[in-house]
């Protein structure tokens, strides 16, 4: 092999190195959210009610994802500026150096459930020993909650078979007995109930009261270069969250539109979700500690990590007003 043939390869590697995401200017803000995740209703409300426009920010929907880790991969690829995503996948992606994002506001607490087959003889967590349980992905909030429940009930990790299935596939898999239970975000647990396929074994509030769940995150480069717009995005988020509290009926109709589910399931699902923008530092530390324990991430100084990861300033300033 001659020397001349090396040059294109070297050039290729340099070009790869230069691909560090598109330059940021005054283009629309690229946002992402999870498919049919009713936790993220504030995002849909802000889109539908024009809260982003009212704040003067131009928002472009850049991705709808089937699970949090996929959305974090999109952040790593530089394809998103802001997004609604679970706190667990966001923590994992940042701790493992893949995506550089910061949390700007909470989106919801609670709002997941472990669902078992309607007629199955499973009454307590202990009855899940030796059974097969589906999660939406490793290092999702639901994976986290299931393992936390196992720890709480003293069930060793190897006594439950954990399978990865995407939430839209879970209800059918439960019905055809391919899995014995699943844990998912609402409205899938509610949908399983209204379809008569499953019943709730545990709500996530039974596993961890008031557990933080979804968060609003921003890419650090975006945050550094366009801080004013990030602030307006948070303001729209706060307005949308308040709107849900004050107008649950109308918010429910928006949820029906975005999830494509029936009003009955949506109504049931919303009862299980607590919409709030208040951040919880202790909650994040709990996530970090548990993810370290699972060996998903390695973080030495949990306090410092949490301080850097959660940006409280914007929210504090807004709420003061």
């Amino acid at each position: 092999m001659g020397k001349k043939e090396i040059y294109p390869i070297v050039l290729g590697i340099f070009i790869l190195g230069l691909m560090r995401g598109p330059a940021l200017g005054s283009e629309p803000i690229r946002i992402g959210y999870l498919q049919s995740d009713i936790h993220q209703l504030a995002c849909w409300v802000a889109l539908e009610k024009g809260f982003y426009k009212k704040q003067g920010v131009d928002v472009k929907l850049a991705g709808i994802f089937r699970a949090g880790p996929e959305e974090m991969s999109a952040f790593a690829a530089g394809a998103l500026d802001m997004g609604y995503v679970g706190e667990a996948p966001a923590t994992t992606a940042v701790a493992n150096g893949m995506a550089r994002v910061r949390i700007l506001a909470q989106v919801n607490t609670e709002g997941s459930a472990i669902v078992v087959r309607e007629k199955a003889n499973i009454k307590t967590m202990n009855d899940l020993r030796g059974k097969r349980v589906a999660v939406p992905g490793h290092s999702t909030v639901q994976d986290f909650l299931l393992r936390k429940a196992m720890a709480k009930w003293n069930i060793p990790m190897n006594e439950i078979n954990i399978t990865v299935l995407k939430p839209p596939e879970m209800i059918n898999a439960l019905r055809t007995k391919q899995i014995d239970a699943f844990i998912a975000w609402e409205p899938y647990p509610a949908k399983a109930q209204t379809m008569g396929v499953g019943r709730v074994l545990l709500y996530s509030s039974d596993i961890w009261k008031n557990h933080p769940c979804c968060v609003l995150v921003a890419d650090q480069r975006f945050l550094a270069s366009r801080p004013a717009e990030a602030r307006r995005m948070v303001a729209a988020h706060v307005e949308a969250t308040d709107f849900i509290d004050n107008n649950p009926e109308e918010a429910g109709r928006i949820a029906v539109k975005y999830t494509g589910m029936d009003p009955e399931s949506v109504r049931l699902a919303m009862q299980n979700v607590n919409y709030t923008y208040q951040l919880s530092i202790e909650g994040e530390k709990e996530y970090v500690r548990f993810l370290v324990g699972l060996k998903y991430i390695h973080v030495k100084d949990i306090d410092a990590f949490t301080r850097n990861f959660i940006c409280q300033d914007i929210l504090k300033e807004l709420v003061k007003k």
Binding site: L16, A76, T92, N96, T163, L165
Partner: protein, 251 residues
């Protein structure tokens, strides 16, 4: 001369490491070689997800491939021999085969899950589809390509049709059957990993391992896993080659 073969790869590895070190290649796009080696170590001893070790992932994947490949051989070789032997049967089944063959095995995944669930059977079915056609077609062409002089010679010596089938057609088509098995195995191995992306019941498999590494955001383990898949594929191909040359010598 042998030494020269290694100059470019080693040079590129060094360059890659250097560019990673100075930050030209961000680690979230492509981890450095050293990080990939550590990722490999983590796959071996920590597991992905933790406590699911590389060895077990490989074992499950190999088992799935052996399952689908075994069935493809059991069905494909006899069917190929018969179709090669009888022009009438070939005309009867051929069009159906030609219709199904171009459908990529991965397009069958939703149907496979419906028919066989998310366990070993649906993975085996996907592998079967990937391996079956190369085996079948190569067996047919192996039989068809046998020099008619051999058949005429056997017939003129008053050999029965049964003897011609077992003593002329089968030995004569063995090199071609082997080629089909080798190609089929290669395709099956590639198909398997993609099939495991859609989910596995047992919680093990190399494709599943890579998807989990992506969930937990570990690109070093993703690339280490890809290399493992490549090396195992290379090894399987080499083993087939060795077996084949032995059998050809016997012939």
């Amino acid at each position: 001369m042998k030494f020269e073969r290694y100059i470019l790869p080693v040079f590129l590895l060094f360059l890659w490491q250097l560019l990673s070190y100075v930050g030209v290649i961000p680690s979230y796009l492509l981890p450095s070689p050293i990080r990939i080696i550590f990722g490999f170590k983590d796959l071996m001893f920590v597991g992905m997800p933790p406590e699911h070790l590389l060895y077990d992932h490989a074992r499950y994947s190999l088992y799935r491939v052996a399952y689908g490949f075994g069935i493809a051989c059991l069905v494909g070789i006899p069917l190929g021999l018969i179709m090669g032997w009888s022009e009438r049967i070939r005309a009867l089944i051929g069009p159906l085969i030609e219709l199904v063959r171009p459908i990529p095995p991965l397009a069958w995944i939703p149907i496979a899950i419906l028919w066989f669930g998310i366990g070993i059977k649906s993975a085996a079915f996907i592998i079967f589809l990937g391996t079956f056609f190369p085996i079948l077609l190569n067996t047919i062409s192996g039989v068809v390509a046998i020099n008619p002089i051999f058949l005429d010679a056997a017939r003129s010596l008053n050999a029965k049709e049964k003897d011609i089938f077992f003593k002329v057609l089968i030995p004569g088509s063995i090199p071609s059957i082997f080629l089909g098995m080798r190609i089929g195995m290669g395709i099956g191995w590639m198909t398997l990993v993609a099939a495991e992306f859609t989910g596995v019941k047992e919680g093990y498999g190399l494709g599943y391992m890579i998807m989990t590494a992506r969930d937990i955001q570990r690109p070093d383990e993703i690339i280490a896993g890809m290399l493992v898949i490549g090396i195992i594929g290379l090894f399987i191909n080499w083993a087939f080659g060795a077996l084949e040359s032995k059998i050809v010598r016997w012939r």
